[in-house]
């Protein structure tokens, strides 16, 4: 069995994101970049499936510039068997990412693709769903529990109304929610071992994936500053204040 895990390099969640002065993007100069936290959960889940005795090869895939190798090495140190970098200097949107993963599922003959439910930079929450549609396979999104038995996955999903349990047949796409697991710490000796594990680089242009239509981003702006609240003395004052604002 082969499991593909997608990892995206994003601005670390602890960083205070700042919009560039000219509105052309956000500042990444000197900023800490890490694996998207939901993708780390995806990695952990794939490793746990393998550690439960399943004959599985776990492959981490990332799409991005050459520097993303650093995050792939972290994935290798966590325990994945090998890594693939699809190299491109462009920032891709979900549909293009889904198309690339679709191509890789074919090349790799994947049985399971685990992705984060969303990346914390653009918060799109689309790639897993789009991949399932392109691949024409079932999807189990927002997973908080995953059990695999003979080619069938039983997945508990976090939905608006609470939890929902579904079962899907492999091959399938799973996207991870926060409560699925707590990713392991990387150990020093494993970082050493990871240096000799295979990391393959594919040029995006050589993959033969048709360019997807894209949304054009025209401007970035920080959210408007919140104005502090106002305290009023009593209920009549509240009502008149609300009326003043045209709320009542």
């Amino acid at each position: 069995m082969k499991i593909l895990v997608g990892i995206k390099r994003v601005i670390d969640f602890s960083v205070r994101v700042q919009v560039k002065k000219d509105g052309s993007g956000v500042n990444t100069d000197g900023v800490k970049l890490s694996i998207n936290p939901f993708d780390e959960i995806a990695l952990e889940e794939a490793l746990r499936i393998r550690e439960k005795g399943m004959q599985a090869e776990v492959v981490a895939v990332s799409i991005g510039p050459a520097e993303v190798q650093q995050q792939l090495r972290t994935a290798l140190a966590m325990g994945v068997d090998r890594a693939v970098l699809v190299e491109t200097g462009e920032v891709l949107q979900p549909l293009m990412v889904a198309r690339i993963f679709h191509e890789l599922t074919k090349r790799e003959n994947a049985d399971l693709v685990i992705l984060g439910k969303q990346a914390i930079d653009d918060d799109c929450n689309q790639t897993g769903q789009m991949l399932a549609a392109l691949w024409d396979r079932p999807q189990a999104t927002f997973a908080s529990k995953v059990e695999l038995k003979d080619k069938t996955l039983t997945v508990t999903r976090e939905v608006d109304a609470g939890l929902e349990t579904i079962s899907v047949d492999l091959p399938a796409v799973v996207t991870t929610d926060l409560r699925l697991n707590t990713p392991r710490f990387v150990k020093m000796p494993d970082i050493m071992k990871a240096r000799s594990k295979p990391l393959q680089t594919l040029k995006l242009d050589d993959l033969g994936v048709a360019k997807a239509p894209e949304l054009e981003i025209t401007n970035y702006a920080p959210p408007p500053q919140r104005v502090g609240g106002k305290k009023v003395a009593d209920v009549p004052a509240l009502i008149s204040a609300l009326k003043e604002r045209g709320v009542l």
């Binding site: 670390d12 602890s14 960083v15 205070r16 700042q18 002065k21 500042n27 100069d29 000197g30 900023v31 800490k32 707590t182 990713p183 392991r184 710490f185 990387v186 150990k187 020093m188 000796p189 970082i191 050493m192």
Partner: protein, 532 residues
């Protein structure tokens, strides 16, 4: 529970990826490519915990990596013009720039981004760099340092292993190089264990603050360097400010105060924020925004406080030892040089033996000798300090005596012992509003599940003696308000908000009962400074 630990073996293990540690690693591999070198760094990435001015004397870097200017680090602006000023509450008076403060030929850099860049150079030479892995304790066997133990990951609050527990690895090496910077926690243990400071003056420190500002166009004059003394400090505490103008409308704004201050009510953070509101500074900053900010202690004892730099199996380099040139406020070139010298020594001798004598015979030691009386000259206040500085400078350090330093934790006056300093402060409008909002600019993070890494062995002192004798100064000297006295059901206790800590080490230095111990938290915890 018996914890199983893996052992990794190297020729040299270096603790701390600051300029000293990185220069040592790079030099070792340049001179002896086959040596196996491990470099540990507690920050989540190299540079994340580095905070420095930083106007750097580039000569040692030119020597280490002659091509460095071809691919300069993110911030690198040649110093253009120096000004040294005395501030009163409303005025700015130009003083002659002391010779040690002239910066022609120097460069204004972000030491954090320089270190990140140096780490890439080190990795290209096959140094094994491990960001996110602190050395928690030294390993000593038969009176010799044999390596270090890395910190455990995944401990519960009570110190028991949690579900994701990963035991820290033991690193064994023929030589351990301590390059932890000012007040290193492992260095401190070793200085004590091997009595390396038996023959020197007590060490003395300062606390430094720094902010990186993005300003409206047209205010910044790239390369302009201003240092000030005076307001908002009255004449007693040693300290002053710096303004370094960068390119792209960015500016470094910083402040340093000597930790030998005496008034227990003194608030270093407030003094820094006040400085920003001086009429000559505020108009520069108004309307701009802070990109990153933090604080870090500086080591100020100089030559007379320098411990012995070697012990069996290990040596101290950079500010872990205290090689900083305080009157120049420059330690980076000294750290680079001592790291390189250590590497050269290790390649030639294979052991730490003889390094202390070698360093003391080097140009670095001569540089510190010349200025040795300037910092302690300020012990009696600004005027005596400036006078001493002038004297030391005109005599080229040939005064026949050496002034002593005193331990900072002993310097506080008891409440009521002396009238508190009169604070002539203004109402502040510039960010950050308070210490808690400054935490945000440091992007500091500590997983709340781990044990608090700040240890206060005797909390009875806090509610008892310390409250009555000093009014709990920890609640004021910590730059990010980690320490708070809270009252619950009529009972007072000390609350430690360890998650906010920016690893400046001030509490470990200044607590008047030496009752605060800074230890390494889980790897990767702490600030994530951006271009500081």
């Amino acid at each position: 529970m018996q914890i199983q630990r893996e052992i990794m073996t190297y020729d040299v293990v270096i603790v701390g990826a600051g300029p000293a540690g990185l220069a040592c690693a790079i030099r070792l591999k340049q001179l002896k490519p086959e040596s196996r070198v491990c470099l540990l760094e507690k920050g989540s990435m190299v540079g994340a915990h580095i905070l420095s001015g930083c106007v750097m004397e580039p000569a040692p870097l030119d020597e280490l990596l002659p091509d460095w200017r071809k691919t300069p680090p993110a911030i690198c602006v040649p110093a253009a013009k120096d000004e040294f000023v005395l501030l009163t509450k409303n005025r700015r008076i130009k003083l002659p720039t002391p010779p040690q403060m002239r910066n022609r030929g120097n460069v204004i850099i972000s030491l954090g981004s320089l270190c990140a860049w140096l780490a890439q150079q080190a990795e290209a030479l096959d140094v094994e760099v491990f960001p996110g892995f602190p050395a928690a304790a030294p390993l000593i066997e038969n009176g010799k340092v044999i390596g270090v133990r890395c910190g455990d990951m995944g401990l519960n609050k009570d110190g028991t292993p949690g579900p994701n527990f990963a035991a820290g690895v033991d690193i064994h090496a023929a030589v351990t190089v301590l390059a932890e910077g000012c007040r290193g926690s492992v260095s401190k243990q070793l200085i004590h264990e091997f009595k390396l400071n038996a023959e020197c003056s007590p060490q003395t420190y300062g606390i430094g603050f720094k902010e990186l500002w993005q300003l409206p166009a047209g205010r910044v004059k790239p390369g302009y360097v201003q240092h000030s003394v005076g307001w908002p400090l009255d004449s007693k505490p040693y300290g002053g400010s710096f303004l370094y103008h960068l390119d792209q409308d960015r500016m470094y704004v910083g402040f340093v105060a000597g930790l030998d201050y005496e008034d227990p009510e003194f608030k270093p953070f407030e003094a820094f924020q006040q400085f920003k509101h001086h009429p000559s500074v505020k108009p520069l900053l108004e309307g701009g925004e802070i990109i990153s900010a933090g604080s870090r202690a500086l080591i100020e004892g100089g030559l007379q406080s320098l411990p012995k730099l070697e012990m069996p199996g290990a040596l101290l380099v950079g500010d872990a030892a205290g090689t900083m040139n305080v009157p120049k406020i420059k330690g980076t070139h000294m750290a680079l040089r001592s790291g390189m010298l250590a590497a050269e020594h290790l390649v030639e001798h294979g052991s730490s033996e003889g390094f202390d004598a070698r360093w003391r015979a080097s140009p670095s030691a001569r540089e510190l000798h010349k200025v040795r009386n300037i910092r302690p000259g300020f012990h009696k206040g600004l005027w005596s300090g400036l006078l001493y500085a002038a004297l030391e400078t005109v005599t080229l350090g040939k005064l026949p005596w050496t002034l002593k330093n005193h331990a900072d934790w002993k310097s506080l006056n008891k409440l009521g012992e002396r009238a508190p300093e009169t604070e002539d402060y203004v109402t502040r409008t510039l960010p950050p509003k308070d210490r808690l909002s400054s935490v945000f600019f440091a992007a500091t993070r500590h997983d709340e599940h781990q044990p608090a890494h700040l240890k206060v062995p005797d909390t009875n002192i806090c509610v008892g003696r310390c409250a009555t004798e000093y009014d709990n100064p920890c609640t004021r000297f910590c730059p990010v308000q980690v320490y708070e006295m809270v009252e619950e059901n009529g009972v007072k206790r000390l609350q430690i908000n360890a998650a906010n800590c920016v690893h400046c080490k001030t509490c470990d230095i200044k607590d008047p009962y030496e009752n605060i111990l800074w230890t390494t938290p889980e790897g990767g915890s702490g600030p994530n400074y951006q271009n500081l």
